[in-house]
Structures are given as structure tokens and as C-alpha cells.
């Protein structure tokens, strides 16, 4: 069964929809769903006051958010099962601490997309804001599992303090990508901006183009074949984000670091640009 929540919000305040998860909403009747509450600023509002609820019995089991979704914060926060689709943009903290299921955003996503993700899949057709897949403020762990696909660009601090999992950025990433990376894999198909990998302990950062030089804590390790990256080819193909053909043919420049930290990380660079 598909339940669609079509939001019509006449406010500039962010709307916190934490708790509107497929596992909690799909079993409820329309009437009960309309009585669920969301937080707008410091006030609580019932769903029937800010959105229209429709049910399609014959469709796939999923919860769909439509309308003014760009104001909605905490979409899929703590999601533990099911499929949640956002038709449009998502606000901040989408997919935070998800432990299972699939979150699909057809537009852009705000800051902290998939922060502290534990498992499951987050897919964004547009761009993501800062701190995608990173740790939450005051916390020390970023993603600890799962997969985030951003078809467009990501902002600063993507994958910060990530421990495990896969973060794929189809476009460019901002400054401080993979900062304090502990493990896991980050693939940036476009250009990676400055200060990438600062404080990196382990893990892999794969970048199509690197703007400028890496930090002083990284040592060049020569040309490298990318045996392990081929393992990701099928998965990325399935998700409609194939690795560029030249990536699998060419040799890569490999750097290890950050020696200011544990220094067991690797940065693979396909092309350097000034």
C-alpha cells in the first residue's frame, strides 16, 4: 500500500517530521495518520492541518512525501524498515541514523543527509548539502554502514568521520571531504575540492579530479591498479551510476595518509587539476 502525504505549509519555519516513518505510518488508517503530529517551530500541528493524506491500496508498500517537502527536516530520521520516497527537495537531517530500508529523494537534500547512517540505502537525484554521511554535531562517528548515492554535488565535509559504508557522489564534492575518515569508501566522480582526507586514519577516497595538492600528511605511492574498485562496478551499474570506462582502464595515482593521524588511508586520484 502506498500512502502519500502531500504537504501544504504556509510558514518559513522548519517542519520537524521525525517519527513519520514507513514502519509506523503504513500500518495506520487514514484517520489515525491525519492525527499524527509534526513540529513547526515550537508548536505541534496535526497532519490534517498541513497535508493531505491519500492511500493507494494496489501500489508498492511505500510512504511518499510530496508538496512543500523542502521545509521538512528529519525525513526518515531513524528509519528502520520500508521505503520512503520524497517527491521534491528534502530539508536537513534526512536519513539520519537510518538502520534499514530505502530513502529516495528525487530533488536536492539539505545538510547532514545520511549523517551517522547505520545501514540501508539513501538515494538523491539532485545535490546534497554539507556534512553528507558525516557525524552529527558533537558526535564522533559518521556513517557506520549502508550506502548513500548522490547523483549531483555534495557540500563540505562529506563523509567526515565515516567508519564503514559507501558514499558515492556523482558530481563534485566540497572542501574537507573524508576529513577524519576512519574506514569505508567514498567515491567522488567529479572534482574533489581542498583539504580532502585531513586526519584520515583508514579507508579509501576515490576522486575523479583533485583540485590542487593533497595535504602534507599524504605521501605519493606511485601508480596503482584499482583491483578492488572493480568490485563496485556492478553495484554502481545497478544503481544507474556507472563508473566511467576510463577509470577501469587507466592507472591511478595513489597516495597514503594522513600521516598526522594513523596514516593507513588511501586517496586514489584519476586526474589532477590546478
Amino acid at each position: 500500500m502506498r500512502i502519500t502525504l502531500d504537504f501544504h505549509i504556509e510558514t518559513d519555519l522548519p517542519v520537524d517530521i521525525k517519527g513519520l516513518l514507513p514502519s509506523k505510518v503504513l500500518p495506520l488508517s487514514s484517520k489515525k495518520i491525519e492525527q499524527l503530529q509534526v513540529a513547526i517551530g515550537n508548536t505541534q500541528l496535526a497532519l490534517h492541518d498541513c497535508c493531505q493524506v491519500t492511500c493507494s491500496v494496489d501500489a508498492t508498500d511505500e510512504l511518499v512525501l510530496a508538496g512543500d517537502t523542502d521545509r521538512l527536516d528529519d525525513i526518515g530520521n531513524g528509519m528502520d524498515a520500508g521505503r520512503l520516497v520524497v517527491r521534491g527537495d528534502a530539508g536537513r537531517y534526512a536519513g539520519v541514523e537510518m538502520s534499514s530500508g530505502e530513502l529516495v529523494i528525487s530533488g536536492n537534500a539539505g545538510d547532514y543527509l545520511g549523517a551517522a547512517l547505520k545501514d540501508g540505502m539513501v538515494r538523491v537525484s539532485g545535490n546534497a548539502g554539507d556534512h553528507c554521511g558525516a557525524c552529527l554535531p558533537g558526535h564522533k562517528d559518521g556513517m557506520t554502514g549502508g550506502t548513500i548515492f548522490v547523483a549531483g554535488n555534495a557540500g563540505n565535509g562529506a563523509g567526515a568521520a565515516m567508519r564503514r559504508g559507501l558514499l558515492v557522489i556523482g558530481g563534485n564534492s566540497g572542501d574537507y571531504t573524508a576529513v577524519n575518515l576512519r574506514a569505508g569508501t567514498i567515491i567522488v566522480m567529479g572534482t574533489c575540492s581542498q583539504n580532502a582526507g585531513l586526519g584520515m586514519r583508514r579507508g579509501s577516497l576515490v576522486v575523479g579530479k583533485l583540485q590542487g595538492d593533497l595535504l602534507a600528511g599524504f605521501s605519493p605511492a606511485g601508480l596503482a591498479d584499482i583491483e578492488w574498485l572493480r568490485l563496485y562496478r556492478n553495484k554502481l551499474n545497478d544503481l544507474g551510476m556507472p563508473l566511467p570506462k576510463s577509470w577501469l582502464k587507466d592507472n591511478w595515482q595513489r597516495f597514503s595518509g594522513d600521516r598526522l593521524s594513523l596514516g593507513k588511508g588511501e586517496v586514489l586520484v584519476h586526474e589532477h587539476i590546478e
Partner: protein, 288 residues
């Protein structure tokens, strides 16, 4: 039963349960993948003396391998999951790891799993690292041409071993040609191997011997030079007999691979699987 002038004895082949694993070996070229697989299958003709039976299976298209490179399958059989784990560790570590550009992946979902890459990683001496993708962990062991990528766990599944056929004929060269053609056909059957040299065995064995410490000895009933000294199963005009031993991941696979002539059995004492030749041939429409 006669097919095109060839007599098919009304007998059955006897086989026994074995534990099996399927490795997917990849490399930069089909030749290198094949080479690694062949070395991995070295000295693994008979479970009696080698502790395992190993055969190179079909080549695998790059589109079907985990790392999109040319591949080759290697089927490994042994008598217990513990022995199979030991054999896999040795063969992947000593044959496949040193092969240029190779990588090794699990190719079967078994009832049990064995940590092979999880142990081989220590060859990396602290420089190893891993990737976890879709719940499967792959170890990256640094080697002198890059990295050896090996999956952490390999599946161990119940298979069937020792299915056999015996080809008997007037002229040795003709029997051998028939046996070699049959072995090729067996190896083309998915999930089956013929582990002896070229798929053909000239030393079929029987259980035990007159010597108490010998577990298996020559099967004298098929030896043409012993016809005057012991009971024989050879017709008077027969000059040679060759055995084809078939191991398979499934009973059905072994049955499909057995479309030939006579079979060796041990009165039903060897194993629970019995492949009745007439029944197989009738089911496959070979008598028509």
C-alpha cells in the same frame, strides 16, 4: 542395452557424499585466470591420496564475475568440511595468490562457510585492508603487482563424489579417444568435474588390498594382464579399460554427466548415491 553397437551393462555407478566449494578466479586475461585455476587444481586427482579432488570448470565471462574481469571456475571437493577448509586455504594461498593479477571469490552459497580470505589476510603483515560490500567482505593483500583481492568467506556445500564410468574396448587408442571425448563432455556440464589427468583414469581402484595398511588397490577385474590370474570383467577381445570419475555439486549434475558405457560399483557398500546406467540413458532418450 545396445547403443550404436556399444553394450551398456545393466549396472549402476556408486557415489558418496562430499563437501564442495566453487571458486571464481579472475585475472587480467582469460589465459592468466585459466593458469591460476590449473595450478590450483594441481595434484588433486583422488581423495584417497590427495585429500581432495579438484577440477577446472568453465571459463566465466567478465560480465559474470565480481570484478568484471575474465574468470574461471574451480571446483574443490573433499570428504569433510574441516578438510575442505584446510584444502581451500592451502590452494588459494599457495597457488592462486602467487598467480599474476589474480583475485579469488566465493562462487557458491553453501550450508556452511569457511574463513579463507580472513586467514590469508595475515600474509599482508599488517598492510592488508578490506572492503565490505553488500554484506560480503573482501580482503586486499598487498603483493608485488598490486593487490590480491580475496573474499573473506567461502561457501561449503554438500556435493556428490566418485560417480564413475568405465569404458572398455578392443583397441587402447580408440578407448582412450572415447574416454577423452567423454571427459570433455563431463567438464562442459556445469557444476561437474573429472579430476583425473585429462579426466581419464587408467588405475581404477577397489577398496582395500591384501596388505592391511593399504586403503585402496588396483581393481584387478579391469586389468587386461590379469585375466589369466584373477576374475575379470573384461570381455575376451577387450584390450583396455579407462575409468571416468565424476564429482558434482548436485546428484542431478553427476547424472547428466554420465551418459556413457559401464560403471564401477562396490556392491552398494561405497556410498548412498547409485546412478543406474540404463535408467539414466532411458531418461535421456539415448536409446531411441
Amino acid at each position: 542395452m545396445q547403443i550404436k553397437g556399444v553394450t551398456i551393462e545393466d549396472t549402476f555407478a556408486e557415489a558418496f557424499p562430499m563437501w564442495a566449494s566453487r571458486l571464481v578466479i579472475t585475472a587480467d586475461t582469460p589465459h592468466l585466470a585459466q593458469q591460476a585455476a590449473q595450478v590450483g587444481a594441481g595434484l588433486a586427482t583422488s581423495i584417497i591420496g590427495c585429500g581432495c579432488e579438484v577440477g577446472v570448470g568453465a571459463a566465466i565471462d567478465p560480465a559474470q564475475t565480481p570484478d568484471s574481469r575474465p574468470g574461471c571456475e574451480l571446483l574443490v571437493f573433499s570428504y569433510s568440511p574441516e578438510k575442505l577448509e584446510e584444502v581451500l586455504f592451502q590452494r588459494i594461498g599457495q597457488a592462486i595468490l602467487p598467480s599474476a593479477t589474480s583475485a579469488c571469490f566465493n562462487g557458491i552459497a553453501g550450508e556452511r562457510t569457511a574463513k579463507i580470505g580472513g586467514k590469508l589476510r595475515y600474509f599482508g603483515d599488517g598492510f592488508q585492508s578490506s572492503k565490505l560490500l553488500d554484506g560480503r567482505r573482501y580482503w586486499r593483500v598487498p603483493v608485488s603487482d598490486g593487490e590480491f583481492v580475496v573474499e573473506e568467506s567461502f561457501g561449503l556445500a554438500q556435493g556428490v563424489g566418485g560417480g564413475n564410468l568405465i569404458l572398455i574396448g578392443r583397441q587402447r587408442n580408440l578407448v582412450l579417444a572415447a574416454a577423452e571425448a567423454a571427459a570433455e563432455a563431463i567438464c562442459r556440464t556445469p557444476g561437474t568435474i573429472a579430476p583425473f589427468p585429462g579426466g581419464v583414469c587408467r588405475s581404477p581402484s577397489k577398496i582395500g588390498a591384501k596388505y592391511k595398511n593399504v586403503r585402496a588397490s588396483t581393481n584387478d577385474v579391469f586389468c587386461p594382464t590379469l585375466r589369466s590370474r584373477a576374475a575379470t570383467k573384461l570381455p575376451p577381445e577387450a584390450e583396455a579399460a579407462y575409468e571416468l570419475v565424476i564429482d558434482g555439486l548436485t546428484q542431478e549434475g553427476v547424472g547428466r554427466a554420465m551418459l556413457v558405457i559401464s560403471a564401477g560399483n562396490y556392491g552398494g557398500k561405497l556410498g548412498p548415491y547409485q546412478f543406474h546406467l540404463h535408467k539414466i540413458l532411458t531418461e535421456m532418450g539415448a536409446c531411441a
